[in-house]
Subunit: 572 residues, 2 copies
Amino acid sequence: MDKNLSKDQLNQLKQQWLNELKKSQALSGPDEPPRNDLKPSVSAIECLINDEETVQCLKSSDSNAQIYMPFDFIQNYFDVYGKMKHYDGYDRFEFQQSNAKVVYDPKSPYTYTGVFMTFDSYNVEARERVKCISGITGVPLSTQWHIEGYYYGIQIAQFGMSHYSKHMTQKPPTKQVYENAEGSVQVLKQNSRWSSSNKYCLVENEEDKERNSRVIKFSTPDSIPLGSGASLVLGNTMEFILSFDLKMVANGSLSVVLETNDKMKQYTIHYITNSLVIDYDLKSNIYYGIGPSRTWRHMARDLLTDLKKGIGLTTKKQAKKVRIAIQKVSRLIVRGRGYIDNVTLSTSEHLTQFFDASQWMYLNQDKKTGGWKNDVERRLEGYPPIPAGWISAMGQGQGMSVLSRAYHVFHDPKYIVALSHALQPFTKSSEQGGVRATFLKTYTWYEEYPTKPSSFVLNGFMYSLIGLYDFKSLLEHEFGFGSTTYKLVKQLYHDGMTSLKAMLPLYDGGSRTFYDLRHFILGMPPNVARWDYHTTHLSQLVLLYSVSNEPVLKKYFDNWSGYLRGKVAKHN
Amino acid sequence: MDKNLSKDQLNQLKQQWLNELKKSQALSGPDEPPRNDLKPSVSAIECLINDEETVQCLKSSDSNAQIYMPFDFIQNYFDVYGKMKHYDGYDRFEFQQSNAKVVYDPKSPYTYTGVFMTFDSYNVEARERVKCISGITGVPLSTQWHIEGYYYGIQIAQFGMSHYSKHMTQKPPTKQVYENAEGSVQVLKQNSRWSSSNKYCLVENEEDKERNSRVIKFSTPDSIPLGSGASLVLGNTMEFILSFDLKMVANGSLSVVLETNDKMKQYTIHYITNSLVIDYDLKSNIYYGIGPSRTWRHMARDLLTDLKKGIGLTTKKQAKKVRIAIQKVSRLIVRGRGYIDNVTLSTSEHLTQFFDASQWMYLNQDKKTGGWKNDVERRLEGYPPIPAGWISAMGQGQGMSVLSRAYHVFHDPKYIVALSHALQPFTKSSEQGGVRATFLKTYTWYEEYPTKPSSFVLNGFMYSLIGLYDFKSLLEHEFGFGSTTYKLVKQLYHDGMTSLKAMLPLYDGGSRTFYDLRHFILGMPPNVARWDYHTTHLSQLVLLYSVSNEPVLKKYFDNWSGYLRGKVAKHN
């Protein structure tokens, strides 16, 4: 080679050939650097799908001539899932048949006193169809089928059982008590924790005979604005569940000032002695009614939930999802006249929330029918609407699962009375206002929705069986086998299990499960269960197998688990 | 640039940079030429399938970063189909959800006198499970459930109806008559068409009083070997269905010499007056028994089928698929003593084959039960074996479809008697030796397989309804509405249609159909219908909708047709 070529000239030549080569290979651009990773050689090829549409695919240039189809098409056509993941130092693509979440996999046998399925992972209050946690009852208000919000027994039962289950599985909360009125007598001006900008605000420590405890008495002028009054410094950056005992003797409010990571920075939640559900001034104030009660009550408020539901308030059925974090619970302000005690911030108050749910279930059971009535019209595709006031076997079952645990924890006999009463709808058909149906003159069923004709929703039926099992177990454990009530619950459970074992195959689509049998009842396409209902079916089968040892339940669990991974029934 | 660089030196430089670049890009080889077609830039990426296995995929290097999955994986995982096709000047890849064949799409309304579904496209005798077409009866022998071959009524009925349907849809055959003994009196030595190397072979033309026709009388010595005798030159290169009328008066044979495209070139098929089913000497001779009958009969032999079944003879259940073509039917040789007339080669003899099937159905109906009994044990997975002698609702239905057409064509009242008799098994349960079952105390069903418990095979049930419809229509058309038989067939058809309309949803998997209900009856995974049964379901729905106008049948046809193209039921 000619030694006269300069280095620059050589580089110039190199660049020239490089560009020629890139053009001839249609590389992605002249500036793209050479790459060291594996670059398989492929060409584009048209793919005709079922003689209907065309998708651009790739064909490898090696001797295999493998066809590669784009995941965008596969995802859409086969209803599967995939995403890029980076770990162990490299990228890969994760393909999933389903978007299924966790299936119940108990470490210890299921009992009516323990965790309920996977409910310890539920966060009912965060659901978009939960309008808020009522300040009056402490339980969620649903917007699922009605925009204004209403109490939906099943949601409340699930709220209760999620907190019960978390109570069983989570480590004990940490807590800070800011005021329990014990120790020395504290008066506003003598104590740095309480303060007020208004000299007519009084805070006193006195003995309460009803509670047999020292409590804080407060009194502020009627004229001062909401958010002012007697203020207790909290300054907690870790524990965001506020609990206290409260007795108001006149109208008033309790406000909590929060610092957040939001651009608004500071928000105040006002709990007011009226019947307001929730409101938000679109700036920094959120309002909850706590009702006009004049008696002592124990309240627990999840401040982050209350904050998010307030900011997320919309005129639509679904609450807006809000991303916000509390940085500090700054202070609490009381206004009006009343008594307060045991002001505490903690990381959880599950038993209080479970108690609120149990109490709601107890107070809202219909005395005539024993049912938890749903006061919204329910529409299922293909069926005449179910008028408001209907009873759900799932609601009865979930209610029984709550109340069985409530009796176990609180030992109040009123729960046994409610439980016994809850069996009544199982003995009456949908036409009679109950939940009982029969499949082709043969199998007894308990209807999640008392449609006419029947709909045979599987997951609701299995929840009802679990509720019956819970109550049956409670009676066996606490009261023995003698009562009429025991005989009834045992028979209802037995009949239901017989039907379940026989009818499971009717829910088997070979690659997915069906949500109900409306295809058979109404002659329409099967209502395929989305994957989260599919995993609910699986969790329920695990639970019912663990308490019954029925092999058929295990068999269906195994077959249906395979569907999550694309293992479908064989064709002939 | 330095002008002193020679062209060689420049090329040398170019090669040097090229090699460097190829190394850095890991191109597939140093000798690969630059290519001018579209070469998308991709890199390899690992794809993790359901956390279980790994598949090598491609990722496009553009900003979309599309993932491409190999069709080998897709095909296996999703059970779909694909192949390369070249037309309109370029290659494309054809993706298909199913490997489904044609669905019945009638040009004119279905009637009991017309084409049966898509049976005009059936070639029953070519099926691997058909051992051969019997020389004695002219109908197929099945090896489906028994290696030695047996008469299977359903297969014979389908053989008959495929020929009936072809008779309706195909253009009339071309034919050459080689000998009808009319015209001048022909004696062997005087006629160049007949010849023999043995001087004791006689061929004479004489009047046959029974047939009121002139016929050929032949006589050869007993001692001459098979394949020799009196020979008639045919030399036909176009028409390969041989037909003739034959009456033997002593043992003998009729041999046909064929030239083929095979390396063996020349084959001889011998039809012999014994009871042999089929045999092959593994060289050039194939043997069929035609029975010892001493009366006139009309026979039609599909020489290509007879050739292929002979060469394909194995000791296994499935006949070997043979690729061979006849180039010329050279000559026919008769041996022994007998009479022959109307020696013809044609492109089809469908009505003869249909007659043979009808005759078999008539002769082989069990006089006691009215059933076409199946003389092989039948095993269905999960059920106790059904002992030999069982009756099938599908067999009864297909038999009725044959005999209704047979009466229409041949007007022989014996077929009406057989048809009436064929209803009997529909009135008796499987336990009583019949085909009637009941689904959960509610719906009447006719069982393709009389399993205990029931199996509710859908396609067999619909074939039975079509058979009932055919006989019902025949009675309406030919005999009016008065008879007890008519009332019975009408009731059986009505009850069956009621069940079909109600129970179709139970066969709907949401993306495929089920073959039967054994999943419900036995508590096992659904027995998904392979695509050819799926299209049978569709064709049957088309037919039954066309005669009943029941909207639900149309609805299921539409939904289930979508499954062929990946249109699945929605999930909730």
